[in-house]
């Protein structure tokens, strides 16, 4: 759909558009959009060519004649039972068994527990004891279990494209390494790894460097945190980790910050932020978040006052703030930026010593340095802001040095472990051409990726779920990684490969773990007990890094004049901002179908990436959604589809990494565009200038942002902090019907009443719940074409609403699972009673009864029911079928499905209670998958009739309201309104249609 941006802006400004809107289409409210909504499954009519009358009768006759056949035969194919020969200790067939381990993002750990059944890892849960992640998880951890069973994984070592073996590899390397060592201590040997936070791996590499003093070590970290360390070095004299104490803060100002965004910090930081915000709300104040940055992200989405501003504007802004903090006055530049700065500074000034200014890993180092100075000037350093030693090992060289050495022909043997530099190296390095000059190249990876195609040796890596290891979390806590399954394929871990290369006797992962962590002279029994305790807990106690004191910041170097803008040509010059993708990250996760089909938090785009442009730029350049444009700088060019992104800085376009993979026959191949070629290694997150040009072609991205649109009022609500009047009336609506059986006054009003409360103030839109639900409930992926037809199957979707104008809208997230209405409209619609209530209030879905009329879905005002148009599960690769949860039915074609409140977990708790003394199920015994995954604990679940339960307390909160409660469906899932500052509550809650 195409829009006249000017008209949309006018409509929003005049206040006759919706107060909360999901897409530009919704603001325009065009006839096409109406049609899209009316045909609930957008393209139900656009099926394959319909048969004519005669063909239809033939098909029907055949279906009638043969319908009986389907009833015959055994109900399922498994007809053998295979017991153990010797049953391992603690393994009970069919029963879940959990292992504590770590999930890695860029080498940083989050504590997890891995639930296995019958020896197969099935589900990732958070590790509640872990000091950094505290029970939360992110999408990467949740999806890692799919990666384990990925049929695209590299399965055997290969030499020159032919299957080989590990002994052959070792034999081939031993001589080479000896020769390299003999000649000048390993000159010509280059090692490339990802960021290393693991103390044991760091020690192994250090030992290797002692053996080969002239060896050079490089780190390829396309989404690394180098800018943060560089910023600290410029301001504080040495690279440091910057950490925040939100609980001590009274205001948070984010300058291109990413505190809530995906990455190594997300789980712990989001938890810190939310807890501080809850604590502040309990004290009757709002811990406001002010955000200014070029590209909207999850942090800006949670900000009370987001400001879209380009990098130049941002550096002027921080300069002004710094001047004001030092007692001076700043130049009055006018415009929204000045108003924002006045507000932010007033708040910071009022809270000197308990303000907090932060910037993110993708900010430019100069900005990061300025933020350090700003915090020092405001007296925040040491109070709300503190520093620790860097978590990763920083003494490796970057990739540029490697590319240079390769070009000069100095590299004799290149070992690349768990990296993919041919794909992820910045375009200006010319990595691939340089690589051709290396005589011997070794690559180890989970997949045969772009780099593998150019290497002599291809080694399969063991998945983190099948290997030993360790890694540090962002707070420094060392987290062990333990195998949860024997390696599915012939893979080895990075430490094992290093051991093959350097040790006289190659050691396995367990031996390497022991060798590093066992104290010298520690007795066997003592070490075994200590190791058990560490593996049980999932972390090494007291290994978090201690805060370091820092001196006064170094003054900024004299600001060089900004480069003069180039003369405007026929094409438009714009600033380019690079961002990792919110679901496939740097591209290394691009083969994971769950992540591909996971809607990006803001754009809701799936199976691809976009070039985000501002509405203003789109208006001036006459860009439409989906127009393919090129971006060109320094002779390198990329092209991709345009996405008009509300809240994008006027002259900055954002490109997303992680797509455009060239991996034939793998899932990721050919999806989206590759942004790496445009990247510059000297400034990886920003290009000051690039040329934007239209190609005239269109490639509309597939997005779910208009799917499942609800029609009603006040879907998203806000409430002033400290308010005691309920945000929505608690009066029962008048009704001619008797109360529903599970409602108060009904037949079952003394039974347990399962219910869920979702805190919209705490929800950061990170999608961890959606992925957890997919993993727990065997939800298949349907593919890009099917998503475009509206056939995706996620039981839980996160609706994203904008509020306000196109330029700096506020953003709201709203997770929408099944509401389990007490008066469920869907149940009225079903002709075969395939969806019915039980007495505890669950709206059950009986797959074996469902005949697929889809009537229930058209009766559902929340649009949370999903239909299996095709047999999406049937052709799953056998290895991937092993991931399926045996406690949940795999649905067939023609069946409706939806959120069940994880009925299998409720059943497990109920059976536990029934088997024993029939004691009531204690509060907290049933944790739904979405609830368990949430890093901010935004979801509460339990028995609403148990007055002591947390969910009952949340339901009694004045912020509690039911979605579309005016329909008298009596939803069991309810929401807590987002908090706003007392003054703005009345303005924001203006009634009006929300789409």
């Amino acid at each position: 759909m195409t829009h006249d941006i000017g008209a949309l802006r006018a409509r929003l400004a005049a206040g006759d558009g919706p107060a909360f809107w999901r897409s530009l289409d919704a603001v325009a409210d065009s006839p096409e959009f109406r049609t899209f909504l009316d045909t609930e499954y957008p393209a139900a009519a656009r099926l394959a060519a319909a048969p004519d009358r005669r063909g239809f009768l033939k098909l029907m006759a055949a279906s009638f004649a043969m319908s009986g056949l389907a009833a015959c035969g055994q109900p399922d194919g498994r007809s053998q039972e295979i017991p153990y020969v010797r049953q391992p200790e603690r393994v009970v067939p069919g029963a879940p068994l959990a292992y504590a381990s770590a999930a890695l993002v860029d080498g940083f750990a989050n504590g997890i527990t891995v639930t296995t059944r019958n020896g197969r890892p099935l589900k990732i849960e958070g590790n509640a004891e872990h000091p950094w992640s505290r029970g939360g998880t992110d999408v990467f951890a949740q999806a890692s279990v799919l990666g384990l069973y990925d049929p695209f994984r590299l399965q055997t070592p290969q030499h020159l494209g032919r299957p080989s073996s590990w002994p052959a590899f070792r034999a081939a390397m031993t001589g080479r390494f000896a020769a390299l060592k003999a000649v000048a201590g390993g000159r010509g040997l280059h090692l490339v790894t990802g960021p290393v936070t693991s103390p044991s791996l760091a020690a192994q590499i250090a030992a290797m460097r002692r053996d080969f003093p002239a060896m050079r070590w490089h780190v390829s970290a396309p989404t690394g945190r180098d800018a943060l360390y560089e910023g600290a070095r410029r301001a504080l004299g040495r690279p440091l980790e910057t950490r925040w104490r939100f609980d001590r803060a009274r205001v948070v100002v984010s300058l291109d910050g990413d505190v809530l965004d995906p990455g190594p910090g997300q789980v712990g930081q989001a938890r810190d932020w939310v807890e501080a915000r809850r604590k502040a709300a309990a004290e009757g104040r709002l811990l406001a978040l002010h955000h200014a940055g070029p590209s909207p992200n999850l942090t800006s989405a949670k900000a009370e006052s987001p400001l879209a501003i380009g990098s130049d504007g941002l550096s002027a802004l921080v300069r002004d703030l710094l001047a004001e903090a030092g007692g001076g006055t700043a130049a009055d530049r006018g415009g929204p930026a000045a108003a924002w700065r006045a507000r932010a500074f007033a708040a910071l000034d009022a809270a000197r010593g308990s303000g907090l200014v932060l910037a993110g890993a993708q900010a430019v180092p100069d900005l990061l340095a300025q933020v350090h100075r700003l915090n020092a000037a405001l007296g925040n350093t040491g109070r709300t802001v503190f520093h620790t030693a860097p978590v990763p090992v920083l003494d490796a060289e970057p990739l540029d040095a490697l590319a240079e050495a390769m070009r000069r022909g100095e590299v004799q043997l290149l070992v690349m472990l768990d990296v993919n530099p041919v794909y992820e190296a910045p375009g200006d390095l010319g990595f691939l051409e340089a690589l051709a000059r290396v005589p011997l190249k070794v690559h180890a990876g989970l997949y045969q990726d772009e780099t593998a195609f150019h290497c002599d040796w291809n080694l399969p890596l063991a998945h983190p779920l099948e290997a030993w290891g360790d890694a540090r979390s962002l707070d420094g806590t060392v987290t062990p990684i333990q195998p949860t399954i024997r390696p599915l394929y012939d893979g080895r871990s990075v430490p094992e490969i290093l051991s093959i290369l350097t040790d006289a006797e190659a050691k396995d992962g367990a031996a390497l773990f022991d060798a590093h962590w066992r104290s010298p002279g520690e007795a066997d029994a003592a070490w075994t007990a200590r190791r058990e305790a560490v593996l049980q807990a999932g972390f090494f106690a007291d290994t978090a890094l201690a805060p370091e004191t820092v001196g006064a910041p170094l003054p900024a170097a004299a600001a060089s004049a900004p480069p003069a803008p180039s003369p405007a040509g026929p094409a438009r010059r714009v600033e380019v901002v690079f961002r990792p993708d919110a679901t496939v990250w740097d591209g290394s996760l691009a083969n994971l179908a769950w992540l591909q089909e996971l809607p990006k938090p803001l754009t809701k785009v799936v199976w691809g990436n976009v070039i985000a442009v501002s509405p203003g730029l789109a208006e001036r350049e006459e860009l439409r959604q989906g127009d393919v444009v090129t971006l060109e700088a320094e002779g390198r060019r990329i092209e991709g589809p345009v996405w008009i992104q509300p809240g994008q800085a006027e002259d900055a376009v954002t490109v997303f990494l992680g797509y455009g993979r060239r991996v034939p026959e793998q899932l990721a191949d050919g999806l989206g565009y590759d942004a790496y070629p445009l990247r510059r290694s000297a400034s990886p997150w920003r290009l000051a200038e690039a040329t934007l040009a239209k190609t005239g072609r269109k490639a509309p991205p597939v997005t779910t942002q208009n799917h499942g649109t609800m029609e009603g009022h006040d879907l998203v609500r806000v409430q002033a902090v400290g308010a005691v009047t309920p945000v929505a009336s608690r009066e029962a609506l008048p009704s001619l019907y008797p109360p529903a059986p599970t409602s108060p006054g009904g037949r079952y009003d003394r039974e347990r009443a399962w219910g869920m409360v979702i805190d919209l103030d705490a929800c950061i839109g990170c999608n961890a719940c959606v992925t957890a639900c997919q993993s727990e409930n065997n939800i298949p992926v349907v593919g890009k074409e099917e998503v475009a037809l509206g056939r995706w199957l996620h039981w839980l979707r996160i609706d994203r609403y904008y509020e306000g104008g196109l330029e700096d809208p506020k953003t709201h997230f709203m997770p929408v699972p099944c509401m389990h209405c007490e008066q469920a409209p869907c149940e009225v619609g079903c002709p075969v009673e395939a969806t019915v209530h039980d007495r505890e209030g669950l709206n059950l879905m009986v797959y074996n009864r469902c005949v697929g009329t889809r009537a229930c879905s058209s009766y559902c005002p929340y649009k949370v029911r999903r239909f299996n148009y095709l047999d999406y599960s049937g052709d799953t690769a056998p290895v991937q079928q092993q991931q399926r949860n045996p406690e949940v039915t795999v649905r067939a074609r023609g069946v409706m499905e939806k959120c069940t409140y994880c009925v299998q977990r409720i059943a497990a708790a109920r059976i536990d209670s029934t088997r024993g003394d029939h004691a009531p199920i204690p509060d907290g015994a049933v944790v739904t998958a979405c609830q368990g995954a949430c890093p901010t604990r935004a979801i509460t679940f339990g028995d609403l009739r148990d007055s002591g339960s947390r969910v009952a307390a949340a339901a009694a909160d004045p912020r509690n309201y039911g979605l579309l409660a005016e329909l008298n469906t009596k939803p069991r899932t309810t929401y807590l309104a987002r908090l706003v500052e007392a003054a703005s509550a009345t303005g924001a809650a203006k009634p009006g249609g929300a789409l």
Partner: protein, 219 residues
């Protein structure tokens, strides 16, 4: 002109029509009979097994407790199939040279599991839990029949939905005292009509309406 049909033609036609109608009417009857037959349900048919294990001998005559092999019946969804090691606890000492037990010894020596043919199967969308039944008054034989009398083990009941529902609707007809759970020859005593409801109350069984809710077995 000669008549085309003999005088009896009408009768023949009527007979043919009648037969055709009877055949048509018979199809559902035969079909219904077929799906209930042991040919389809497998009831009463003992499939080939790697070892001709006799429940009659082990649990009937030697009185080995069911739970010696089916260890998880009181705690897990599945009762559990014994690992080879369980067989070898005795058979490394007795009948250690028996030809019949060669597959067991081979399994233990070569670390290759025994592969048993499955007797009792439920569809994938049915979730049955042994532990909750045997701890609440439902004995093994209610579903599995008199296993202690089975020389070779066979399926005693066709586990169709009506079989489950019968008990879920009227648990008082089937519940037994705790000490009778493992009794394979238990049959309802004469006073089951009074005993049953007492036991149902004692076990806190929630009665027909709750137990027939779809979500109890299907999820």
């Amino acid at each position: 002109m000669r008549q085309l049909f003999a005088p009896g033609a009408d009768a023949l036609l009527r007979l043919a029509l009648l037969t055709a109608a009877a055949c048509l009417a018979g199809i559902p009857v035969v079909g219904a009979g077929l799906v209930r037959s042991s040919y389809v349900t497998g009831v009463g048919v003992a499939p080939d097994q790697p070892v001709p294990f006799s429940h009659k001998h082990h649990s009937g005559e030697l009185k080995i407790d069911c739970r010696y092999c089916h260890t998880t019946v009181e705690t897990q969804a599945t009762a559990g199939i014994p690992p080879t090691e369980t067989c070898m606890t005795c058979h490394s000492q007795i009948w250690s040279g028996s030809e019949m037990l060669e597959p067991v010894r081979a399994s233990y020596a070569k670390d290759q599991p025994l592969v048993w043919n499955r007797l009792n199967k439920l569809p994938g969308y049915v979730y049955y839990n042994h532990s909750v039944h045997v701890t609440n008054g439902i004995g093994c034989s209610t579903c599995h029949g008199s296993v202690t009398d089975m020389q070779l083990t066979y399926r005693a009941n066709a586990f169709e939905m009506s079989f489950c529902l019968d008990c879920h609707r009227n648990p008082e007809k089937y519940v037994r005292p705790k000490d009778q759970i493992l009794n394979m020859t238990w049959s309802p005593p004469a006073n089951q009509a009074t005993l049953g409801p007492e036991l149902v109350a004692q076990y806190h069984i929630r009665g027909g309406e709750r137990l027939t809710e779809c979500g109890i077995c299907h999820r």
